[in-house]
């Protein structure tokens, strides 16, 4: 009797060692200028994330899901996409989404509960970050199917975390994508924790990437704190999809340095020593800085300028978010439920508006 099991831990592909030295194959399309732009984006994203946490503490921002520690995974993966590709992110993809073209103030408005945060710029085929875990992975399969059906040269990408791989929708999505052989890319940031539950309690397999095997698609495991390796892996997955080679599951092994959200206290479930290693020795920004230094593409003066530039952009975004017009409640509530409001909704809207106009609670109960 032949049986199957899989205990081998596929090593994560690496191009940059934690000390910034090159230990893997360098992607051809990546020159110093592009690498520096990755670095500037990662610095910007980290400053943005820290600023957002401060804004939350000051009561100026609602619930926010920080991504610090995952900048390489996000910038490296989004950098492999074209602006015309379809993007189905989760809520923790803010760094990647901003890189892709989401104005930073929109990311802030999302956490302020402003409905306009759902208005992704019209030139981007990107959805707002999905809150329900894994639902968007299936949407990417549908969008990828549409690309294939229309013979378009576009791919659809889904972004999610390690926790999402336990959901049925993840498995259904990979299976559907494999069976239909659609141009989809599934990018999993394995940041090691789903709120408090470690990845070892999320799955009995040593990796996420190996799950691809069961669906008959390609899996790649990559060091998620190595922006060059992430970029190379995602370029491979995107190119395969674009060429009609079918879907790929990319696992980027990374680490969430902060809490799950501003409502979480990670000290309750983390090992302080492991945490310290990830935050210091394995930090993705440090790694890229060391790499740039070795290539003579980094110095203190440039760093200071980049930080200043990032802070100015962030301050401007905060200013725009905080001076953003308040939502028109009646329009937001009633304007986007159906293409045309039902008679009941039209009457309820009239009642709502009457209540607002009269400044009392009187227009509502009589509504249709």
């Amino acid at each position: 009797m032949r049986t199957y099991s899989w205990e081998e831990e596929i090593p994560a592909h690496q191009v940059l060692a934690p000390d910034g030295s090159v230990v893997g194959e360098w992607p051809e399309s990546l020159d110093d200028e592009r690498l520096r732009s990755f670095y500037r984006w990662m610095v910007f994203a980290r400053r943005f994330d820290q600023r957002a946490l401060t804004l939350h503490r000051q009561g100026r921002l609602g619930t926010y899901a920080p991504f610090s520690g995952q900048e390489a995974a996000q910038i490296g993966s989004f950098a492999a996409l074209e602006k015309t590709d379809w993007v189905f992110p989760s809520y923790r993809e803010v760094a990647g989404m901003m890189y892709h073209g989401l104005p930073p103030e929109m990311a802030l408005l999302f956490s302020k509960g402003h409905p306009d945060a759902g208005k992704v710029p019209a030139e981007l085929n990107m959805l707002p970050g999905k809150i329900v875990i894994a639902a968007q992975i299936l949407h990417a399969v549908g969008a990828a199917w549409a690309c294939k059906q229309r013979g378009e040269d576009r791919v659809a990408s889904a972004f999610f975390g390690d926790g999402a791989t336990s959901q049925g929708d993840f498995h259904e999505a990979l299976n559907f994508a494999a069976v239909f052989r659609v141009p989809a890319v599934f990018f999993c940031q394995n940041n090691q924790f789903a709120i408090s539950v470690p990845v070892t309690r999320q799955m009995a397999t040593p990796t996420v990437a190996q799950k691809a095997v069961a669906y008959g698609i390609e899996g790649i495991r990559v060091d998620g704190n190595d922006v060059v390796a992430v970029y190379a892996a995602m370029c491979r997955a995107v190119a395969r999809a674009r060429a009609g080679g079918g879907p790929t599951l990319v696992e980027a092994v990374t680490y969430r340095q902060g809490p799950h959200t501003t409502a979480d206290d990670p000290r309750r479930y983390r090992d302080p020593q492991v945490h310290q290693t990830w935050v210091e020795a394995l930090d993705p920004i440090r790694r890229l800085r060391l790499c740039l230094e070795r290539r003579g593409a980094w110095d203190e003066a440039a760093e200071s300028a980049w930080i200043r530039e990032a802070d100015e952009r962030i301050a401007a975004a905060v200013e725009r978010a905080e001076s953003y017009p308040a939502p028109d409640a009646a329009e937001v509530l009633f304007g986007h439920v159906y293409a045309e409001p039902t008679p009941a909704l039209a009457a309820q809207r009239a009642g709502f508006l009457a209540e607002q106009a009269e400044g009392g609670a009187n227009g509502w109960p009589g509504a249709r």
Binding site: W86, F88, P115, D116, G118, K119, V120, A122, L127, P128, V132, A135, I137, L138, H139, A140, V141, G142, A143, A144, W145, A146, C147, Q149, R150, A156, G168, D169, E172, A173, N175, F176, V179, G335, H336, V337, Y338, A339, T342, P343, A344, L345, G366, R368
Partner: protein
């Protein structure tokens, strides 16, 4: 005109819309070569190809999510949930995702998906096939819920549903699939998604029903007329989200008494919503309380006892008699 059963009318509607609009896609479990377990999609794959009429793997949430993703790209998916009892598997993709896409993207995207699904009791199915779960979607903003009672309406409503720009839950009562034939035009036509229809006129009592219960109510109304000379007006809602309260109120202003019949178990269903709306809009025209004829609040029964659970013409008649006297 041709004589069609409801399943033929549904097949015909899908055929016409696939032919009219290249963005219409039909998919689900066994809908391709097999033509659907009830043959609703019979012959469509052969005619339109496996790119547009196709089988999916066996996963309802996958079907729902695929439909949402395709809709985001401008397709008009008609996704089949093989039996509506399986809707729990795809609840998030319908009620959490499809219904909210327009809202959460500020109308940048919308979701013109039809979720077609057989349901309904009286045909001795295994468990989780026959349940009337439409009430779950009466409380879901952003979707419409359509339940035809006859072949003509089924075709016109399904064509309207496919052309509508919002998600539509289109429920097909299994007992009606082949139990009746009627004249159905061969060309495409639409029946509005928000209008009830008076299917029997009467001046003494209003009976409100949908799906297979329309026929149960009609039989009860005939019996009432024959036995007592009392004329009940029967309203076929056709769409239960939204509910066409205007047609109901107009009838009650004439009859002053009403009974609501639903095949779903009793509490918090479509009947409860209808009675609440009657209360808001027509209470001063009533001469007695509006009553419900429904099964009890129990799990949908095993096949051997389902006939004891479902409202019968006799039960509806009892309800009508009570409404006339209280």
């Amino acid at each position: 005109m041709a004589q069609m059963t409801m399943i033929q009318a549904i097949n015909n509607a899908l055929d016409l819309e696939l032919g009219r609009d290249p963005n219409v896609l039909v998919f689900g479990e066994d809908v391709g070569k097999n033509g659907g377990v009830f043959r609703a999609t019979d012959g469509l794959q052969a005619k339109y190809g496996a790119e547009r009429v196709f089988d999916t793997p066996l996963a309802e949430s996958g079907i729902g999510g695929l439909a949402v993703g395709l809709a985001i790209q401008g397709f008009r998916p008609v996704a089949e949930i093989q039996f509506f009892g399986f809707v729990f598997e795809v609840m998030d993709q319908i009620a959490g995702q499809a219904s909210r896409l327009r809202y959460r993207t500020n109308s940048r995207f919308h979701c013109p998906v039809v979720f077609r699904s057989p349901f309904g009791g009286g045909v001795k199915t295994p468990e989780m096939h026959a349940d009337s779960l439409e009430g779950l979607f009466v409380q879901t903003p952003g979707v419409r819920v359509v339940i035809p009672s006859n072949p003509y309406d089924a075709k016109g409503l399904l064509i309207s549903a496919i052309r509508d720009n919002d998600p539509v839950i289109f429920l097909e009562h299994m007992k009606l699939y082949r139990s009746m034939r009627m004249e159905v035009p061969e060309e495409a036509y639409t029946v509005p998604l928000d209008q009830a229809k008076v299917v029997r006129e009467g001046k003494d009592l209003t009976v409100i029903a949908y799906g297979a219960m329309v026929h149960t109510a009609l039989r009860a109304a005939e019996e009432l007329a024959n036995s007592k000379g009392v004329q009940a007006e029967v309203i076929d809602l056709r769409t239960i989200n939204p509910i066409d309260i205007d047609t109901i109120v107009a009838s009650i202003k004439k009859t002053h008494r009403a009974v609501v019949v639903q095949e779903a178990q009793r509490q918090a269903g479509a009947a409860a919503e209808i009675i609440a709306q009657i209360n808001e809009h027509a209470i001063y025209h009533l001469e007695g309380p509006v009553l419900r004829v429904t099964p009890p609040d129990t799990v949908y029964p095993f096949a051997q006892i389902e006939d004891e659970w479902i409202p019968t013409p006799q039960r509806v008649l009892a309800g009508m008699n009570k409404a006339l006297t209280v």
